[in-house]
Point group: C2
Chain length 254, copies 2
């Protein structure tokens, strides 16, 4: 009988500062978070691995809870991966936890809930320590109007006009469970939670809310975009640096 | 009669991210914030200037309200310096405001109140986006004990044992008006306000409070250090990255 190797599927929750990367995915030019993680994992398990992430975050986008899997034949206790990998990773990528999952778990196809946050620095002059973690908006914003408009995104809608390009997605309908704004000093934070997001969806929703905040768009424009999609973004895409992938939940966690 | 040039003294309030600098002061190796500011000012006013800062912050220390002066013969409206300099400065140094002050104003000798904040990230695993703006402390901390101990620093004391080297200061007695801890999620923030601070004083006070928080020092150690100074730091110096110079006030502003 041949030597049968048992494969383990390891799931990591990973936080990163996206500033210095070309995004999650391996790109021809620029260093990707996926490539750096893969290198650290291969250095640890001493075999080739494929690293799959739940979300292909863009360059400059941050994460607190990206979910990542890889398969290995090594018998390392699963909870020890976090610490062992952190010893091999740069300080801007940190594994928060590690565990073994069943071989039929896939981080992308079984997602049931994702949470994003988008931070805006709203003051007359920028603050240096915020430059990589928020979008600087010097214009006066009507936060109450933005709050009212944010509520319109909650529910099941066709988000075609809140995505920046058509992808091979079966449907452009998504359900948003929460879309709320919080203001603390100069910082306005959008928190949005839903069953899935189209490409650039959070950043275009933020772009729309900013237009509402400075009186250039109204609640009607949002309702119009849902009712009669034009096939192009209804508002500008807010910059990547303000966006953080906060959390991803899977069926067994709900 | 010779051409008499009128000199103007301009006061700037400057915010910066200290991560990529060797500190405020010009150093033989490394780029200082002072040097970068001086270059931007000279590029604007087209004459040599001397840039004086209120506080010589160390490498990695941040500022929201560093106060800076320079003299110039140019007749630029003083409030326009902020915007004109920000166009010439990198994004990690931002002038918040500019105004003309009298020629006898000196930012160092007339200071009456300074406020610092020190941020600690207290959780099991580090967070990448916090790595440059807080000190990561994975140990469990007794915040209530730290709060009680913080109160002991308020008032007039001899801070000899809360400074890391003797400087040419006339006295080591300082008055602290406020020393309080706030906890929000994983972030513990020390806010300390006083009439002056010795070299590394805030960072050593923070070091002492951390020792109290993990049970290695007590309120008695603080009282002892005040009553019978040993001439050496009573606790380790907490790292620079957690420290921010928040505000400096001058007599006319109180």
């Amino acid at each position: 009988m041949e030597n049968q190797e048992i494969r383990h599927r390891i799931r990591l929750v990973v936080a990163y500062d996206g500033t210095n990367y070309c995004g999650w995915q391996v790109q021809p030019n620029g260093v990707s978070i996926q490539a750096v993680l893969q290198e650290a994992i291969e250095d640890l398990v001493r075999e080739k691995v494929n690293v799959t992430g739940a979300s292909r975050t863009d360059s400059g986008v941050h994460a607190l809870g990206q979910v990542v899997i890889f398969d290995t034949t090594k018998n390392i206790p699963p909870e020890q991966y976090a610490r062992a990998l952190n010893q091999r990773l740069p300080r801007d990528i940190v594994v928060q936890s590690s565990e073994e999952v069943s071989m039929d778990f896939h981080p992308r196809y079984t997602t049931v809930e994702k949470t994003y946050e988008y931070r805006i620095l709203n003051r007359r002059i920028p603050l240096p320590c915020e430059r990589m973690y928020s979008y600087f908006v010097p214009r006066k914003l009507d936060v109450e109007k933005m709050r009212e408009a944010a509520k319109l995104f909650v529910g099941e809608h066709d988000f075609t006009d809140f995505s920046s390009q058509r992808r091979n997605t079966v449907t452009t309908v998504r359900t948003i469970y929460e879309c709320s704004l919080q203001k603390e000093g100069d910082i306005i934070t959008l928190r949005i939670r839903g069953n899935g997001f189209l490409y650039n969806m959070v950043r275009i929703i933020m772009g729309m809310l900013l237009k509402v905040g400075c009186g250039q768009k109204t609640a009607e424009d949002i309702e119009q975009a849902f009712a009669h999609p034009q096939g192009r973004a209804a508002a500008p895409t807010a910059p990547a640096c303000g966006l953080t992938l906060v959390e991803i939940k899977y069926p067994e966690e709900l």
